[in-house]
Structures are given as structure tokens and as C-alpha cells.
């Protein structure tokens, strides 16, 4: 085995100055020589082993499964997985209870009840048309004296008389409907302008509804006093087909509790 010990000549100052050059020269010399001594070959073998080991380790890291973890990590992993499994078990039990509940009730009756609720909510919300007995009210207001307040009072009167679906012009009246007069005095229903003559349809008991309009001081009187005319018809069936676009509430959300 040959050692490459070259005694450095010269003063230390010279050594300092030539050190980089000497080192680089030595490096190039070593890189250039292909002299295969025992020592060289042994070093080459070790470096080859190192190369293989590095590549193998990098590959292992990339596809690391459970094999490479140490005991503490594996225990932690086991804990996590066990906790997750417990939670899922609890959820399964809960869901099975709900399912049993739903299956217990007479499923057909439950389905029908749900459908009925859906239908009535739809009519109330104005997302479905409705038909049934009711009244058709035609109001003529040539002098545009009738104000939004009067129309509002009429709607309240109809509701009080049990109207279940109301339509003014082609605007459906729902809980969020509001009335206003625009600058020219025309009627605004939830922002949409409705022109006279107004045609109001209401579904409910025809007799009660028309009676409510005719009470002394009620809507009929208000219109006549304003110089308009009002005509109430009670056809066999009234169709309220104007629909209302429901809007998602931004501020209100349901109170958690039992829902019907």
C-alpha cells in the first residue's frame, strides 16, 4: 500500500500562498492516474458499496411503508388508527339506530305525511302553483289614489279570512312580500311594478273571502271612496300560478332542536 505523503518544501508563507494551487494540482494528478494499487481498489470497492447503499436508501425513503418506522412511531400510528376505528364504530351504531327508527314507523304513512308537508310548504313559500276555490278581485284605480298601504291592508284582510295563496298581477304574495309606491305613484309589489287595473287572485273559502272584502270600511269601501271600482268574482276554481323565487337567508338559521 503506497501512501501519498509529499513533504512540503519551502517556508510556511510560501506554503500558504501555493496551497490552493498545490492542492488543485494534486487533485488533477490523482484524478488522471489509473494506477490500480490494492489500496485504490479497496477504496473503490467501499465507495461502490456506498453508492449502492445511497441509491437503495433513497428508494426506500420514497416508498416508505410501515417497515421503516421505529417502535414509538408505530405505537402512535396504532393509537391513531384505533381511535379512528372507535369513532367510526360509534357512528355506525348511531346510524343503525336512526335507520331502525325510520323503518319502524309505517313507511308509507311517513312518506305520505312528508309529501303533504312538502306540498303545503311549497304553496306557502310560493314555489308551487296552487288551485282551488277562491276569489278573483278586479280593481280599477283610474286616479291612482290607492296607496301601497291600502293594498297591504287588503292582503291582511284576505289572510285573516283564510286565504292560502294570493297573487297580485303576476306577483305571488308570500311572507317576504312588501308593498311600496314608486315615485310616480304606481304600485310596487316586492320591487316589481304592478299596473292598474289590478287583478288579485286568492284561494280559500270563496264566501268568507268575498265577505271580508265587503265589510263596512273594508277594502271595497276604500276603493270606492278613492273613486275606483272593485269587482269580485267567485269562479269555481281559481289558479294561482305566479311563483316566487325563494332566497337563502343570510342572517337567520334554524334553532337546533326537534323539527316537525
Amino acid at each position: 500500500m503506497m501512501s501519498e505523503r509529499t513533504p512540503d518544501p519551502g517556508s510556511s508563507a510560501q506554503k500558504q500562498q501555493t496551497r490552493p494551487n498545490a492542492a488543485r494540482a494534486r487533485m488533477w494528478r490523482n484524478l488522471g492516474s489509473l494506477r490500480a494499487s490494492t489500496g485504490n481498489v479497496l477504496v473503490a470497492v467501499l465507495l461502490a458499496a456506498l453508492g449502492v447503499a445511497v441509491v437503495a436508501q433513497v428508494r426506500t425513503t420514497q416508498e416508505e411503508g410501515l417497515v421503516g418506522l421505529r417502535q414509538a412511531d408505530l405505537i402512535q400510528l396504532l393509537d391513531d388508527v384505533t381511535t379512528r376505528a372507535d369513532n367510526l364504530e360509534a357512528e355506525i351504531i348511531e346510524l343503525e339506530a336512526v335507520r331502525a327508527d325510520l323503518l319502524d314507523d309505517d313507511s308509507e304513512a311517513a312518506g305520505e305525511a312528508a309529501q303533504q308537508r312538502l306540498d303545503s310548504y311549497r304553496i306557502l313559500a310560493g314555489t308551487a302553483g296552487a288551485t282551488g276555490p277562491g276569489v278573483l278581485i278586479r280593481v280599477d284605480d283610474p286616479d291612482q289614489v290607492l296607496a301601497a298601504d291600502d293594498i297591504m291592508a287588503m292582503v291582511q284582510e284576505l289572510r285573516d279570512a283564510g286565504a292560502e295563496a294570493i297573487q297580485i298581477g303576476d306577483v305571488r304574495v308570500v311572507t317576504s312580500t312588501w308593498f311600496a309606491d314608486d315615485d310616480s305613484g304606481a304600485l310596487l309589489v316586492s320591487g316589481a311594478s304592478v299596473d292598474a287595473p289590478y287583478e288579485i287572485r286568492a284561494i280559500g273559502d270563496a264566501h268568507t273571502l268575498s265577505g271580508a272584502m265587503a265589510i263596512p270600511g273594508g277594502f271595497n269601501d276604500v276603493v270606492r271612496r278613492s273613486g275606483g271600482t272593485v269587482a269580485i268574482e267567485t269562479p269555481g276554481s281559481v289558479v294561482v300560478d305566479a311563483l316566487h323565487e325563494p332566497a337563502e337567508p343570510r342572517y337567520a338559521h334554524p334553532v337546533p332542536g326537534d323539527d316537525d
Binding site: E4, P20, A23, S33, R35, A48, V54, R59, T60, R70
Partner: protein, 110 residues
């Protein structure tokens, strides 16, 4: 030159053969590789300083690897495996850094 050929041969063989690490070896291999790298950088520095000795390099390479593996084993047995491995990696990293700095000074004088 021969040692560098050896290194390139090893890396190529690794990429071509794609060996998988046996199970019992997996906790020791990373630390052993770092320890071997430390010996290699030490050898390169010695070479640039003109004091490289084959025997010294081989012995330091093998002893570094063995000691690193031993420390990992001991740490796992004692229950401080993670911390001890971290400590070993930190120290080896420091030594690699200082060797690389010396190499840099020798090559570029800065």
C-alpha cells in the same frame, strides 16, 4: 481515478439492480450512509492536503459505519433511539460541513 470509478459503478449498479433493503437493515442504513459520507469527505480533504492514506481511509470508513450502527442499536435498546439518532446525525453533519469547508479552502483559497 479508480475510487471515483468505483463510486460511479456503485450508483449505476444501484439504479439498475434496484435492490430492496432487507428489513433488519432499515433502521441502520440511513445513519450508516451519513457516517460513510463523513469518512469520504474526510478522505477527500486528506487527499487535497496531501496526507491521504488508503489504510487510514478504509479503517475510518468501516469504523464510522460500525460505530454509527452500534449507536443506533444501543439507542433503540435504551429507548432513546430517536434522540440518539438525531444527535449522531447532527454531529456527522457538523463534521461533513467542516470537511467541506476545508476542501473549499484548499481548492479555491477562500
Amino acid at each position: 481515478m479508480i475510487p471515483i470509478i468505483g463510486l460511479i459503478a456503485g450508483v449505476t449498479a444501484g439504479l439498475l439492480m434496484q435492490p430492496s433493503v432487507p428489513g433488519w437493515l432499515t433502521p441502520y442504513l440511513p445513519i450508516a450512509v451519513i457516517a460513510a459520507l463523513d469518512a469520504v469527505f474526510g478522505g477527500v480533504r486528506a487527499g487535497l492536503e496531501g496526507i491521504f492514506n488508503d489504510r487510514v481511509f478504509v479503517v475510518s470508513f468501516l469504523s464510522n459505519v460500525l460505530v454509527a450502527a452500534l449507536i443506533v442499536f444501543l439507542g433503540n435498546q435504551l429507548g432513546v433511539g430517536g434522540q440518539l439518532a438525531t444527535g449522531v446525525v447532527v454531529v456527522l453533519g457538523l463534521r461533513i460541513f467542516s470537511n467541506v469547508a476545508a476542501i473549499r479552502r484548499h481548492l479555491f483559497g477562500a
